[in-house]
């Protein structure tokens, strides 16, 4: 747990202690005198970087309750700021705390306003603290720190008066229904022990009457006085308080019980009368009512932000470390799994090797043998010679003696305009041929020549092996877009002429 420097400032004295998580140590007292102030400065050097929690124990204090309309957020902050400035113009040490919400119809908020009205009390100590550059967490009223006892001592009485003796005097804090109402500090007069007790008892009785006068308590109600006797000096006080008073009941809590029930050790208790409250201040996170002006606590704000950032760094680092750890754990698991699988694979491979010893000798793997043989067979059956094409053409040419084949271009490949140079996809292969032919015809007898050519192509198409046959080029271009030339001289003077034409023929795939 974080360390704290807990201080209790009174008009002529400062008590200091170091809270180290669960215990209070190094309890010292310093007077207003110059040597003690220097000693305090020296004391602070040992607490470098430790945040300071300062408690005010002075008669120059003010507590008042106000009921304000219910608000929250910025509206509440602005309203409280206005109210505090209105109430406490002469001091920077003031604060407010929401104590309860009223049950009435408007459900207004009830606030406790508190201030230290004489700031000279803090001047020497704050000057030394500022010089030491220690972060100041806040300035808190001692009576509100006292409230921490109610839960620890299990005090459930309706009207409760906590009495304790401090360096500054006797402090009486009245608590009704568990809530702070009034607190008074009575400075001790320097006289004999008996008269001090008597005056303390008188103060308690006066407080009782004061409460009745304020109508905070009724005269018939019982007031339970709890006397915190830190040094065994108030043993006779309970009897003196209740003497002749029916509406008062007093209980003293001796030092050993304070030690047992609260936890503060006897060494600290004996070192200072403020030790119990220093201990309570150390125990508490931070009282809600902080009277320190923001300028005074800026160093602590920085410290908190720094701690927050460090905490965030730590959390991020831890989260990342946990995640990385989880990942590495996974990696180890996966590597182990891979190793196990690898062992099984080796077993299977060994088993396979064992089996292969009975295999006949082979120049290649079985799959390679099979694929190679099958592919070779397919290549073999796929190949073609042009004999079928020759037979088809010869058979038809025999029927047309006037026609003569001058050249032939045969191809075997993929069907389509580009033949075998087409795409690499699997398509049926087929034979095709381009025939360059000539026809001996009478001059000018175009109709007869064209009819013969068309008849030849038709006959080719009818062959069972032919997929397609067509004229690629006619002896005459009869297209309307082409030029046609010739002579109509006397037919008897002219000899038979040969007409060239081309025929394309494609056999069915698989032929």
């Amino acid at each position: 747990m974080a360390r704290k420097l807990v201080l209790c400032a009174s008009p002529s004295h400062l008590s200091a202690g170091l809270w180290t998580g669960r215990r209070l140590s190094a309890v010292h007292g310093f007077s207003n005198a110059e040597p003690d102030q220097q000693a305090f400065a020296t004391f602070l050097r040992a607490a470098r970087g430790v945040p300071v929690y300062l408690m005010a124990d002075t008669v120059d204090e003010d507590y008042r309750f106000e009921t304000l309309p219910h608000a929250f957020g910025k509206d509440r902050r602005d309203m409280l700021e206005r109210k505090l400035k209105q109430l406490y113009r002469s001091t920077p040490f003031f604060g407010a705390q929401l104590t309860q919400r009223e049950d009435a119809k408007r459900r207004d908020d009830r606030y406790l306003f508190a201030a230290v009205t004489n700031t000279e009390l803090f001047d020497p100590w704050l000057r030394i603290l500022s010089a030491s550059q220690l972060p100041i967490a806040g300035v808190f009223p001692l009576p509100l720190v006292t409230l921490g006892l109610i839960k620890q001592l299990e005090l459930k009485e309706q009207n409760l008066l906590l009495v304790s003796r401090h360096e500054a005097g006797v402090r009486q804090t009245f608590v009704k229904d568990g809530r702070f109402r009034i607190s008074r500090l009575t400075p001790l007069r320097a006289s004999g022990s008996g008269s001090t007790l008597e005056s303390s008892a008188e103060e308690v009785r006066n407080t009782r009457m004061y409460l009745d006068a304020l109508n905070v308590t009724h005269v018939d109600e019982m007031l339970h006085v709890v006397i915190l006797d830190q040094d065994d000096s108030l043993a006779a006080l309970p009897d003196m308080v209740v003497h002749g008073r029916r509406n008062l009941r007093a209980v003293r809590i001796p030092p050993h019980e304070i030690t047992n029930r609260i936890g503060v050790d006897s060494t600290a208790l004996s070192a200072s009368p403020d030790a119990l409250h220093l201990f309570l201040l150390g125990q508490q996170k931070a009282p809600a009512l902080n009277m320190a002006p923001p300028a005074l606590t800026s160093g602590y704000t920085r410290l908190q932000i720094s701690r927050g950032v460090y905490a965030l760094s730590g959390a991020a680092g831890l989260l990342a470390a946990a995640w990385c750890g989880f990942n590495l754990y996974n990696v180890m698991g996966l590597e182990d799994e891979a190793h196990q699988i690898s062992l099984k694979t080796h077993q299977e491979q060994s088993h396979y090797q064992e089996i292969t010893r009975s295999f006949p000798p082979s120049p290649a793997a079985a799959s390679r043998l099979q694929t190679t043989v099958e592919v070779s067979e397919r290549i073999s059956t796929m190949g073609r010679f042009p004999d079928t094409m020759f037979r088809v053409i010869s058979a038809e040419l025999d029927k047309y003696p006037a026609m003569r084949l001058t050249s032939l271009r045969w191809k075997y490949g993929r069907s389509g305009p580009e033949g075998s140079s087409g795409s690499a996809g699997a398509t049926a292969l087929s034979q095709s041929a381009l025939l360059a032919m000539e026809l001996t015809a009478q001059p000018g007898d175009f109709k007869s020549a064209l009819a013969n050519i068309n008849s030849f192509v038709r006959d080719l198409s009818k062959n069972e092996n032919v997929a397609d046959a067509k004229v690629a080029k006619m002896p005459l271009n009869l297209s309307s877009s082409a030029t046609l030339t010739g002579s109509t001289a006397s037919l008897r003077q002219e000899q038979p002429q040969s007409a060239q034409f081309d025929v394309e023929i494609r056999l069915k795939p698989g032929v």
């Binding site: 590495l328 699988i341 690898s342 089996i355 190679t372 070779s376 020759f390 271009r409």
Partner: protein, 207 residues
């Protein structure tokens, strides 16, 4: 909201620096470990594939044995015939010469191109099998078209490799009546593809 003073900046510098360093280191560490997890997962997947493969080989060992017994002889025959393995170009040319002689042609001019991938690999479903072809262009003269078929049949009968005829162009030659019989009447230009299948790489080894 109040602005930051120089004291605030000084006070927050170190924690902010620590936070930034922690975040950067964390990101790197997380990325590194996440990558390690991914690598390990891939390693497991690869090992599982190997195991499945090994088990499959064991399960199929009977079929494999049968396949070897069935195909080793035809395969060896293909090797002997020069279809599997390296090209035997000398044998092809010798075979050309022999075929020319047997068919009584007037001589064959040839031009053998560099080896390339087989053009009809998809049609024979060769998949990953390395099938190659070397295109040979032939020019020769014929007495008649029947000699063309006799020539290819004679070439195939040499059994020096597997070839397919891709293209042939026949052109009629002008007949010189002054020369007696047996003069060529046709000029032929053909394209033949000699096909070879590569043997297994040395590391593939025997099964």
């Amino acid at each position: 909201m109040r602005s930051l003073s120089s004291r605030d900046v000084r006070a927050l510098f170190q924690p902010t620096l620590v936070l930034v360093i922690v975040i950067i280191v964390s990101i790197f560490a997380l990325r590194y470990t996440a990558a390690a997890v991914k690598r390990a997962q891939q390693g497991v997947a690869a090992q599982e594939r190997l195991l499945v493969e090994a088990r499959k080989k064991v399960q199929q060992s009977d079929q494999e044995k049968n396949a070897i017994e069935r195909y080793v002889e035809p395969y060896t025959e293909l090797e002997r015939a020069g279809i599997v393995g390296d090209e035997k170009r000398i044998s092809w040319i010798d075979a050309l010469r022999t075929a020319n002689s047997e068919v009584d042609l007037y001589g064959v001019e040839y031009e053998l191109e560099p080896q390339q991938a087989y053009a009809f690999k998809a049609e024979v479903a060769a998949d990953s099998l390395p099938v190659h072809q070397s295109v040979m262009k032939l020019r020769f003269e014929l007495l008649h078209e029947g000699d063309l078929l006799h020539f290819f049949q004679a070439l195939a009968a040499q059994k020096v490799g597997r070839f397919t005829v891709n293209e042939c162009k026949l052109q009629r030659l002008a007949v010189n009546l002054a020369i007696p019989v047996n003069q060529p009447t046709l000029k032929a230009e053909c394209e033949v593809a000699w096909i070879t299948i590569a043997g297994p790489a040395p590391e593939e080894g025997k099964s």
